[in-house]
Symmetry: C2
Subunit: 347 residues, 2 copies
């Protein structure tokens, strides 16, 4: 299998280095051959080429069997809202160019981290949610611009039937292999695009009569996710609402540093931690690499169909946590100092 | 003072009845005269007149000194995304008609409810956030519609400089009277409207050099709100992001049933619980009326400048909780059955 590593910005480098090491170890143990290439994106690509998504990155990605992705972003652009070229254009661009319309974000708590969250353990125990976030539509990709001499700015939130249908189908299929519950999240009491979303999900639901379906408004969903995380099984939602809910849901898993995601479409899949570039800790060697490691596990499972290999990785993470090892973000007041590891050691 | 009560749908009736009783008691104790009128909105108004916001409701509202609002919404419309006339149009319409551009949502935990939340008490103790949600712009009011024979639906997310500026000024003014910290929430790494938002907040910030300002992306903010609620003082954000964050923040206060809001602009203010119509418990007499009671307190404070009166109401709520009384939503396993009260008794 040929894998392109796109490390990107901030802690992206540090964590994908570990993700790749884990893939190498799997190849060794299970007798596979993984070859690698690297490609630029984001701020790193802007610095090197002026373009947040060089053509070469797309070509390499298309020719690969899977992509191990780091993160994009840089505070420089965040503080300058008028910047025309931005790192995030690289990430949005590659999602679109590869047609990665379904972003799977599994939220599952490792038992050992039950205490790491600000949420009470009795509300978390057993929580297991699989988010399907639509990834190539919505207000992310609608027409955007300025008018009135720059004094008015707009972004179009937009969905078409086929876009909603294909992600809904993926979510229902997943629900069939799980607890057969699906929650669709929208804001249909206010938004026309959400009303289309709800219509289409209702239609697709008819094809899956065994799945128990509920529709929640995004505001209620953001509340229920904290109030009672265990009520959710599969959650399907649009690009923007999915961005918000999955970051929020990281608190269910104890830390954002533990959460992996898979972006899939009709071809090459992209595997990426849900945490961002985290410039505040970049270069310090303290970033939690487990989200990248678990992203590699998702790659093994989803893109390569290597179930046993994926399981071996997840078990390894479980065992390292059971042995008491922590990175800083998942340590608590009771963690002995010698069990708090840096990025490389955790790898 | 002349007050219009717009009870609306679901539990709106039950809770505003209690809110009004409290206002009456205040008038009696402090020697004020409050006169009342009623007006229709939402599903109730559709049933009676065909219109979710009858002209008469606007006229009465404009002539009043303040509005005590209940809730709007009905499951009938939620299940039928194609309905053309909807209860929520009443609420959005009155916000727009009265120019209620600033929605203040204070999130403060009553000590007695520290255990009622799914969040650990040590993360909540002392949390005190004041949200400023912009209320008459954004994707709520941008152009919306269908194209491609109904197969594509869109809503325009849109902000103009003056809209951002006036809400930012309100938020900074409030921060000056509090802990002098302000967090502005947007998605400036993706959205043009958010970039304008950030630009304008940065400009307004220059006029308030004493206020410590941070900018967070909505996804990070949704996470941080649960991870560390005490880091926030004043939060200012757009209509959609404010809708989501304040519902989520209800978990900080133990229950949505405790949260009041004030919608203000240049004229009459509207006071409203942040909970919705809650049809699942409508008519059962179990709804928590305290959000309506606390909304009445905000009215006394903000619209009538009656500080002592407002404080008396908040103290009364505090005392009733200290005495152990609870409605169902804020009771827990340790609450003795005889202390669990219905809506009227709690009033
Ligand atoms: C970096 C940003 C553009 C991105 C998004 O909003 O999609 C990130 O938050 C994510 O969730 O992958
Ligand atoms: C009922 C609905 C239109 C409303 C909104 O989204 O503004 C409600 O959720 C609120 O927060 O007041």
């Amino acid at each position: 299998k040929h894998i392109v590593v796109i490390a990107g910005d901030g802690i992206g480098q540090e964590v994908t280095t570990v993700g790749k090491q884990v893939l190498d170890r799997i190849a060794e143990k299970f007798g596979h051959e993984f070859t690698y290439d690297e490609a630029l994106i984001g701020h790193a690509a802007i610095e090197a080429t002026g373009n947040p998504l060089p053509e070469e990155t797309i070509t390499k990605s298309k020719q690969s069997d899977a992509i191990l992705f780091g993160a994009v972003g840089h505070p420089k652009y965040d503080n300058d809202p008028s910047a025309k070229v931005r790192p995030e254009q690289g990430l949005l661009g590659i999602r679109k160019a590869l047609g990665l319309y379904a972003n799977l974000r599994p939220i599952k708590l490792f038992d050992e981290l039950l205490q790491a969250s600000s949420i009470k353990p009795e509300f978390l125990q057993g929580a297991d949610i699989l988010f399907f976030r639509e990834l190539t539509g919505d207000v992310y990709f609608g027409e955007k611009g300025r008018k009135d001499e720059g004094d008015t700015a707009y972004d179009q939130m937009i969905y078409s039937r086929y876009e909603v249908e294909r992600i809904a189908v993926k979510a229902f299929e997943a629900a069939m292999t799980r607890r057969k519950k699906l929650c669709s999240v929208d804001k249909a009491n206010v938004l026309e695009s959400s009303r289309l979303w709800r219509e289409v999900v209702q239609e697709v639901a008819k094809r899956y009569p065994e799945v128990e379906v509920e529709h929640q408004f995004i505001d209620a969903a953001a509340m229920l996710l904290i109030k009672d995380p265990r009520r959710f099984d599969v959650v399907v939602t649009g690009n923007l609402f999915g961005d918000i809910l999955t970051d929020e849901a990281s608190q269910i898993a104890g830390s954002m540093g533990m959460l992996a995601s898979a972006s899939i479409g009709d071809t090459t899949g992209l595997y990426e931690p849900i945490h961002g570039s985290a410039h505040d800790i970049t270069g310090k060697g303290v970033a939690n690499p487990l989200a990248s490691v678990l992203s590699a596990a998702l790659m093994l499972d989803i893109s390569f169909g290597m179930k046993a290999e994926a399981e071996a990785v997840v078990n390894a993470v479980d065992q390292v946590l059971k042995a008491g090892f922590r990175t800083r973000d998942i340590a608590d007041a009771t963690t002995p100092a010698h069990l708090i590891l840096g990025t490389g050691e955790m790898g």
